[in-house]
């Protein structure tokens, strides 16, 4: 459903008179056959089929019949119709989980389920369901409980607000914004894991830079270029180390590498790789242009009571304890 984000979700039935069911077409196919072909097409294009696709696939079939079949599919809730945002073109798309599949669902359950389904993997908050469905709190709770009992929907708590529960279809993988991505487990940020990977990546880059330094005789250009490691390579090595239990993606490791960039230890650069599929992010360690600010090497640089220090008063440089303990 994510692919339809830019699409105006607007269902409208086309008011066309229904021709009789038994019509047989010019090319001899029955309506049932066309319907089967259409479903096949819908499976083939999970993002939806437009009129154009239908025309090229079955040029001989009458427009009327196509409309009829589509309407039928829609009334069976197998297919939904959308209007493309820019072109205003209509297109049809397979409904992934037809709500009708749930047996014994009453009207209220169906409405609530419809709302939850629409929310996709981002989930929907109870309050929003209540407002949109105009059900009372008590009824809604009953319905939600029933649906949860049937394992049709599930509740997920969001990382941004621990107490805010959202509902989504049972078989959906919650969105990153809900779970917080790979670095959260049970809504807890795994800060140790992030720190560990941060160190590991840095160590790898350092080693690479050490090796690169040995090539000094080939010129600084070689030294610089061979100190780079691409995020893909780093991802591969880290995955092989089996530090993380889940499947580590390149994007995941890039977020870790970015933290190193923010710490100023590493620089990011992009190069194109050989396979013309665009840019590869590469990283290398860099030295700071100045050695650590000299004043922080003095006790004053890190003194917690610096502001209270002066020529008069309790804290004075002439009898400061930090100087007394200063051993470099």
């Amino acid at each position: 459903m994510a692919g339809l984000a830019a699409v105006n979700i607007k269902k409208e039935k086309i008011d066309e008179p229904r021709p009789s069911v038994s019509t047989v077409n010019d090319d001899g196919r029955s309506e049932a056959e066309i319907e089967a072909r259409m479903l096949e097409l819908l499976h083939q294009f999970p993002k939806g089929i437009s009129n154009q696709i239908l025309d090229t696939d079955m040029p001989t079939v009458d427009k009327q019949i196509k409309v009829t079949i589509l309407n039928k599919l829609m009334s069976k809730e197998k297919v939904s119709m959308f209007k493309a945002a820019g072109t205003q073109e209509l297109f049809w798309c397979l409904k992934s989980h037809p709500t009708s599949r749930i047996k014994g669902a009453d009207n209220e359950e169906r409405v609530v389920l419809g709302l939850i389904e629409e929310a996709g993997n981002k989930g929907i908050w109870t309050k929003d369901i209540r407002i949109k469905s105009s059900l009372s709190q008590a009824t809604l709770n009953k319905v939600l409980k029933a649906l949860e009992g049937k394992k049709v929907i599930k509740s997920v708590s969001s990382v941004s607000a621990a107490k805010k529960k959202v509902y989504m279809l049972f078989n959906l993988q919650p969105d990153r914004s809900i779970t917080g991505g790979s670095w959260y487990s049970d809504n807890e940020f795994e800060s140790e894991l992030v720190d560990l990977l941060n160190h590991q990546c840095y160590r790898m880059l350092l080693q690479k830079a050490e090796v690169a330094k040995q090539k000094q005789n080939d010129g600084p250009f070689t030294v610089r270029n061979s100190s780079f490691l691409s995020s893909k390579e780093i991802c591969q090595v880290i995955s092989d180390l089996k530090i993380v239990k889940f499947n580590l993606t390149v994007e995941d490791i890039e977020t870790i590498l970015d933290t190193l960039v923010f710490e100023g230890k590493v620089e990011k650069s992009t190069t194109s790789d050989g396979n013309c599929d665009g840019q590869v992010k590469t990283y290398r360690t860099v030295e700071k242009p100045v050695s650590s600010a000299s004043i922080v090497r003095m006790p004053c640089g890190v003194c917690p009571v610096m502001k209270k220090c002066g020529n008069v008063g309790a804290i004075q440089p002439k009898d400061c304890n930090y100087y007394g303990e200063w051993d470099d």
Binding site: P220, E287, K288, P289, P317
Partner: protein
């Protein structure tokens, strides 16, 4: 010392201490009065300090002689002179050891002596400086041989040609008609021209072991040390080190050569240097004897690595002549100042806070949620660090209001950002204070334990002398034990160690100050 010292800014306090330590209490007090009050007449200073007129006059003379105080006729009464202090020149006292080291590194020890003498006197004619330096050098070598002063004359000319020394302003011809003499600024091209000098009379005086120079031809042409030029040189050292740290030593060497070319192309201080062509740089590298062979071999690579580096040490400004290369000092010093701020944040608040600080700086404006997501820091910690940084003025907050309705709640965003000049000023102020503390502590330790230290020095001298006379070791040990107790000795060792640390700390704090000051200077330069 006066009881209201706390009203001075840390920078002024440093200047006051430096003058106090370098020239003594009397001059220090006059200097402090000028620091505090700005333009003052002689009698104002007398009343302000409560010192005798004679003392004040002498102190002012010393300060004027060292180019720390200037004077001009008062606006209200042209018959009265008003004195004012040049704080930067007072601050430069701290850099004198660095000046000497710089000169020794570039030229050698005889030039170092020239500068040392000139710094000691404040201002003097070329003959005078050469004469005194020759005397000093003669003392060091054996008495039989007498040094030829013409070598020193050449050294003096070299120093002038490289602008390390500069001519003082002349006194206007009709100065003595008016009550307050006016100083006439020399023309730019005259400032560094050494008059033709006869070395024979000086050599003769040296042979006669004279201590005074007496009358000489160029007594009207007075020289002093050019602080601005030394600032540039010290700054260049920092830049060369930066290049060496970023790439390697050979890159530092290349950068040193290019800096020289830039200075020749554009001697006046500006935000950006003039462009220097590729071929010119290559020429300079070729002519540089004793340079690294790597540099010659991979010249193009080194140049490219340097101008592709993110610290903006070199920027490519054009393609003519194989490429034009210039430096934008504002950009370079912004990067250096950022590196300084980073290490301050790192040491004071830790690496997570540094992540937040740098992230905010890179993103210009950032809101709390985005910050914790990108920096990968748990929400609670991210909040704590960002508020802490804000409390200490490293981060600032900008509130953005959505909608302007007067009724009902208005949604607003709080975005964090870094106001770099402001943060730099905060850290600069902190550096001045650290510097002040270090000097104050050192002065205090050395004066409070003066007797003990003198005793220790006396004892060491004596032991050294006895050791030369082959006195047995056990007798020496006995002697040393009887003159000073072990506790005293360890105290002396501790004081010496702390004092060494403090001296080092002062020079390091000065480096930080130079970088931060340069950033502010170039940033606000038109």
């Amino acid at each position: 010392m006066s009881s209201y010292t706390y009203t001075l800014s840390p920078f002024s306090q440093v200047c006051r201490l430096l003058m106090n330590n370098y020239f003594g209490e009397i001059v220090g007090q006059v200097g402090e009065n000028l620091l505090r009050r700005g333009n003052r007449s002689l009698f104002d200073i007398k009343t302000g300090t409560g010192m005798s007129l004679w003392d004040v006059k002498r102190a002012l003379a010393v300060l004027i002689h060292h180019n720390i105080v200037t004077f001009q006729a008062s606006d209200r009464n042209p018959n009265i002179a008003e004195y004012s202090l040049i704080p930067h020149n007072a601050y430069c006292i701290l850099r004198y050891p660095k000046y000497l080291y710089t000169i020794k590194r570039i030229y050698g020890s005889s030039e170092e002596v020239l500068i040392e003498i000139l710094l000691n006197i404040g201002q003097a004619s070329a003959s005078d400086v050469i004469f005194q330096s020759a005397n000093r050098l003669n003392e060091a070598i054996d008495d039989v041989k007498v040094l030829n002063p013409s070598a020193l004359y050449q050294s003096f000319q070299k120093l002038a040609a490289d602008n390390f020394i500069i001519r003082c302003s002349k006194i206007e011809k009709n100065a003595f008609v008016e009550n307050v003499p006016k100083l006439l600024e020399l023309k730019e091209e005259e400032k560094f021209i050494v008059p033709q000098l006869e070395m024979e009379p000086i050599a003769k005086l040296l042979r006669e072991k004279a201590t005074q120079l007496g009358e000489h031809s160029d007594s009207e042409v007075i020289w002093r040390v050019n602080h601005q030029r030394f600032d540039v040189e010290l700054r260049n050292v920092i830049l060369v080190n930066a290049a060496a740290r970023r790439v390697d030593a050979a890159a530092g060497e290349l950068y040193h050569l290019i800096l020289k070319l830039w200075r020749e192309a554009c001697p006046v201080e500006a935000r950006t240097s003039n462009g220097v062509s590729h071929s010119l740089i290559k020429d300079a590298v070729r002519k540089n004897d004793g340079g690294s062979p790597l540099l010659m071999e991979h010249f193009d690579q080194y140049l490219r690595v340097l101008y592709e580096d993110s610290t903006c040490l070199i920027s490519r400004t054009g393609d003519s002549g194989g490429g034009q290369f210039a430096v934008n000092y504002a950009d370079v010093f912004e990067n250096l100042a950022c590196a300084i701020l980073d290490s301050v944040v790192l040491e004071r608040f830790g690496s997570k806070a540094l992540r937040i600080f740098r992230l905010t700086r890179m993103q210009k404006f950032i809101d709390q949620d985005q910050m914790q997501n990108l920096a990968m820091i748990p929400a609670k910690d991210a909040k704590m660090f960002s508020y802490k940084l804000m409390e200490e003025n490293y981060l600032q907050i900008k509130e953005l209001k959505k909608g302007t309705s007067n009724v009902g709640p208005v949604k607003s965003f709080n975005l964090f950002y870094v106001d770099l000049p402001q943060v730099v000023r905060t850290v600069l102020e902190m550096s001045y204070k650290s510097l002040f503390n270090a000097i104050a502590r050192q002065t205090h330790d050395l004066t409070a334990n003066k007797l003990l230290l003198e005793k220790h020095a006396w004892m060491e001298n004596m032991l050294e002398r006895l050791r030369g006379e082959d006195t047995p070791d056990d007798l020496l040990a006995d002697l040393s034990e009887s003159t000073m107790t072990a506790a005293d000795k360890s105290l002396v060792a501790k004081i010496h160690k702390l004092s060494d640390n403090l001296t080092l700390g002062q020079s390091q704090a000065d480096e930080t100050i130079l970088i931060l000051e340069s950033y502010l200077k170039f940033h606000f330069m038109a």
